[in-house]
Amino acid sequence: MSNWKRQLIVILIIAWVWFLLAESEILPTLLFPTPPEILYAGWYLFAGGTILTDIGATFMRLFIGLSIGSLFGILIGLSTLKAKGSGGLIFWIDFLRSIPAAALLPIFLLLLGLGEISKIALVIFSVTLIMSINTIYGIKNINNIRLMVAKNLLLNTWQAFIKVIFPEVLPHISSGLRQAISFSLIIVVVIEMLVSTEHGLGRRVVDYHLTFEISQMYAVIILIGIIGYSINKIYILLENKKVHWIGK
């Protein structure tokens, strides 16, 4: 808890220095509203209610993209089980992964149109790549002794998969999911900023930027930060509980 308090103190100091710099007009007030102004703008966003719709829209894209992408990625990864994680697939995944996802956006827009589908499809695509490479990596790292144990205990293929192989790969799948969560939040916000859409946190940042409502813009950016941080923390808590044997 003391660590938590220390972080809070650091945040307060940064806010205080910012406040002094903005208030004394060393920083241009137009570009750097004071922390109370940002807080007020944030409060106003929630009081107005529209920001909830934006949060909902962003979450929906994130959630659908992550779920479908993870499912695809894990299945593709597991398809290499027989080959013990080797094969030509890795080259293609690595190659596609090397292209920044945002650069692929035009292709998705051309193929799938400007609607919701192309946005979510890009998230699914990116998550699939991350999850499949991590699953394959997990399969490559399956401990040989554990396979011998499964065989020695006369488990059939399905029992061996459920009781031994899948849990053995799970830490890698889980770490893939952690990467995928952070990454897909970035992708969703970037798409929302680049492609016309009614709702979404990325859209709000752009809108407030264009209408020069700088306090609101900061408020939304900080909100995105808080959301990203919270999702990550919640995920790590879940991971520690469900995949408790990691690193032990």
């Binding site: 554990r146 006369l154 044997w245």
Partner: protein, 248 residues
């Protein structure tokens, strides 16, 4: 009685095992003693059906049952052989999943084994929450649950500190006295071989050949004090004189 007859094995044209033949009379403990990496573990894997010999056979004499030999393996490193996503209880139960379909019956069998091994206080703990000695005892429990024709132990005490190893050896001997099941144990320790085995088979370096089979007639039940007696001293000297080629 189980007969090992002229087993040969090579990997990538390098001979590992050369004409390995010996008998395992019912209810005896056989120790395999020899330098590191000389193929003793490979031999265990072949007997367990986890690896295939190039030539030679493993035969069961005075057994009507034509089925394959069933073997209960205990590996050196419990950190890999036990599954860290399962509790002590679940790890033992895993050995019964293939054989006992009825869940209640299976639970009762696990109860019996946990009681026999005195693991009751630890049954719901995960492997990383208990000591190395208790982990290896759990691994023994799993082999016990399998109720195989033969136990195959691959240096089961060598990953433990001296005290835990001695304690576990006593526990194993006490268990073994009750069921007198044929056992092969790979060991690097002369003392361990003298304490446990009825016959000590000395292997040469690669390609592994049998240098000698030394009978050990120290009366059972055995205890640590007997290791200081004349009988033990005689066996010790025999082993050392034969094993000189790789000890020095």
């Amino acid at each position: 009685m189980i007969k090992i007859i002229e087993i040969n094995k090579s990997y990538n044209a390098a001979a590992i095992l050369q004409n390995i033949s010996f008998d395992i009379p019912a209810g005896q403990i056989i120790a395999l003693f020899g330098p590191n990496g000389c193929g003793k573990s490979t031999l265990l894997k072949i007997i367990a059906g986890l690896d295939k010999q190039d030539s030679g056979e493993i035969k069961r004499i005075d057994q009507d049952d034509p089925n394959e030999l069933s073997a209960g393996l205990v590996f050196q490193d419990h950190r890999f052989s036990l599954l860290p996503w399962m509790t002590t209880r679940q790890n033992i139960e895993l050995a019964l999943i293939a054989k006992v379909k009825n869940k209640k019956e299976r639970g009762e069998k696990v109860d019996q084994i946990i009681k026999r091994l005195n693991l009751g206080r630890h049954e719901n703990k995960y492997p990383y929450q208990i000591s190395g000695g208790l982990s290896q005892l759990t691994a023994f429990g799993r082999a016990l649950a399998l109720d195989p024709d033969i136990y195959l132990f691959d240096e089961p005490f060598s990953a433990l500190d001296y005290q835990s190893a001695v304690k576990l050896q006593q526990q194993f001997l006490a268990l073994w006295e009750k069921e007198k099941k044929s056992t092969i144990i790979v060991t690097h320790s002369i003392e361990e071989a003298i304490l446990l085995a009825d016959q000590i088979i000395i292997f040469s370096g690669l390609p592994a050949k049998i240098l000698a089979i030394i009978p050990n007639n120290i009366p059972r039940p055995r205890n640590l004090e007997q290791l200081g007696g004349d009988l033990a001293q005689g066996i010790r000297q025999k082993i050392i004189s034969i094993a000189q080629s790789f000890l020095i």
